[in-house]
């Protein structure tokens, strides 16, 4: 099977049952699998809340490793809207010309460097670096900060080895404390200063709230962007004709980006906690238990997508939910889309071909389901 084939493990369960079950630290999750059910549950925030105990809507659960509520992610309407209003415009900055120009420069340098090497381990030497450097633009902080972020490696925010990772997460919290203090002393045009100056419903954000926003911005855009970038490179390595097509028909670039994001669905699912006894496609859900909205499964729903398991590089109607749906739709989507756009344009300009030399797949286990979400490591040669 080609390295860039990502099969859909949920198909049978989606068709026959509508949900899939998995355990996670004795707090089981019923995964909602169909496109319509996912959208319906995402919409119904009164019954399926995000504002549960901090960390609980994440799978694997982070309740044992953090107390800080991530904002606006773990807040429900109407408060959600007030928080979101504070940061919404900031997250649109990737559309500014100067931001794009900087991104072009950063990605150009990375590709030039990759072209000089016999082999590049893309996760650590390319995608992590790209993601960290690009994030300095979103935070509007000096480029040199990215060195610290890169040094944290890809595993800082994960909770697989609970004890160990709680320690690692502390590195991030300490870092954020330090940066907030610096911005208090010396307000500037950075994200921290912006948050320190912000008011929600006439009140300043507390330090705790600001940390909740900043941690989320770090963690929400880490693995997701790394996987989106790496998997897209793997795809173009094995499908050079698609790159050629985008080169000749630049008007399909946008379709290509949305399709790659649909196909790879870098974030598999996200949880909610039921506030009452209810049901999802005839399956009972008890109050205070978890469901998850399985974006990856919804994005392969054959009742919505023709040739759902293929990359149709110019798919014109593509109602995917890879960036979520409704209230909590991804704030970082503009940044992520801009990264992919610049990446593809740069590949077209500078790269003739890419070879995959060796790959170790990253497989998530979700109960009986095994889903490939990306790679632990992947060696490529850029020509």
């Amino acid at each position: 099977m080609a390295k860039c084939t990502f099969s859909d493990p949920f198909e049978k369960a989606r068709k026959e049952v509508g949900i899939g079950e998995m355990d996670d630290q004795n707090d089981p999750v019923k995964m909602v699998l169909g496109h319509k059910d996912v959208r319906r549950c995402a919409h119904n925030h009164k019954t399926f809340q995000s504002g549960a105990e901090p960390g609980r809507i994440v799978v694997p659960s982070e309740v044992n490793i953090r107390d800080i509520r991530q904002i606006p992610f773990e807040v429900d309407p109407p408060q959600h809207g007030s928080y979101r209003a504070v940061v919404e415009d900031w997250f649109k900055r990737p559309l500014e010309e100067e931001y794009t120009a900087q991104l072009e420069k950063q990605i150009g340098v990375l590709i030039d460097e990759a072209l000089t090497k016999d082999s590049v381990e893309v996760i650590n030497e390319f995608s992590l670096v790209l993601q960290s450097r690009a994030l300095t633009l979103l935070f509007n902080v000096p480029f040199s900060e990215s060195e610290t972020w890169i040094s944290w490696g890809t595993h800082v925010f994960r909770s697989e080895e609970t004890a160990l990772d709680a320690g690692k997460a502390q590195v991030l919290y300490d870092y954020i404390d330090k940066k907030l203090e610096e911005s208090k002393q010396n307000p500037g045009d950075d994200f921290y200063s912006k948050l320190l100056a912000a008011e929600v419903d006439g009140k300043k954000l507390t330090d705790e709230e600001i940390k909740g926003v900043v941690v989320l911005t770090f963690s929400g855009g880490r693995d997701t962007v790394i996987n989106a970038v790496t998997n897209s490179l793997a795809y173009f390595a094995e499908n050079p004709a698609s790159l050629e097509r985008i080169k000749n028909e630049p008007e399909i670039l946008n379709f290509a980006i949305e399709e790659l994001v649909r196909y790879f669905s870098p974030l598999t699912h996200m949880g909610r906690v039921a506030t009452e006894d209810t049901q999802v496609c005839e399956h009972a859900i008890q109050a205070d238990t978890r469901i998850s909205l399985n974006w990856a499964s919804a994005n392969r729903d054959a009742t919505v997508f023709e040739k759902a398991n293929e990359v149709v590089i110019d798919r014109k109607i593509n109602p995917h939910v890879a960036f979520g749906f409704g209230t909590h739709n991804c704030l970082g989507a503009t940044h992520a889309r801009q990264i992919l756009k610049v990446l593809i344009k740069t590949l077209i300009k500078k790269v003739d071909s890419i070879e995959i030399l060796e790959a170790d797949e990253n497989i998530e286990t979700l109960g009986e389901f095994k889903r490939k979400v990306g790679f632990n490591s992947i060696q490529m040669k850029f020509n």
Partner: protein
């Protein structure tokens, strides 16, 4: 040429002209507040949601099945909701008034 009028949430009325592409693109080019077109027009993000003036519903026509599916669970959905990226700019739209949903 079609003249299309947008009424924003702040009650600003802006009339623009176009003859190609879709209504979302026209709105974005003209910086209409509340129409972001985040997904570039593939029917995924609903940041191009408008309410058609009821008496103009015959100009725009009803949404496709896929489009109305995406609108079904939108907070702001009404009987005359459309995703403006799914509306082509054509002569038939001339004179239409669209209220920006967000």
């Amino acid at each position: 040429m079609a003249k299309i009028t947008f009424v924003t949430q702040a009650n600003e009325t802006i009339t623009v002209e176009g003859n190609s592409g879709n209504v979302m693109e026209l709105a974005v080019q003209n910086k209409i507040k509340g129409i972001d077109g985040n997904c570039g027009g593939v029917c995924s993000c609903a940041t191009c949601h408008v309410h058609v003036e009821p008496e103009h519903w015959n100009k725009t026509g009803a949404p496709s099945a896929m489009e109305s599916d995406m609108l079904e669970f939108d907070e702001k959905v009404s009987d005359h909701s459309r995703l403006s990226c799914q509306m082509k700019v054509t002569e038939e739209l001339d004179g239409v008034v669209l209220k920006v949903a967000n």
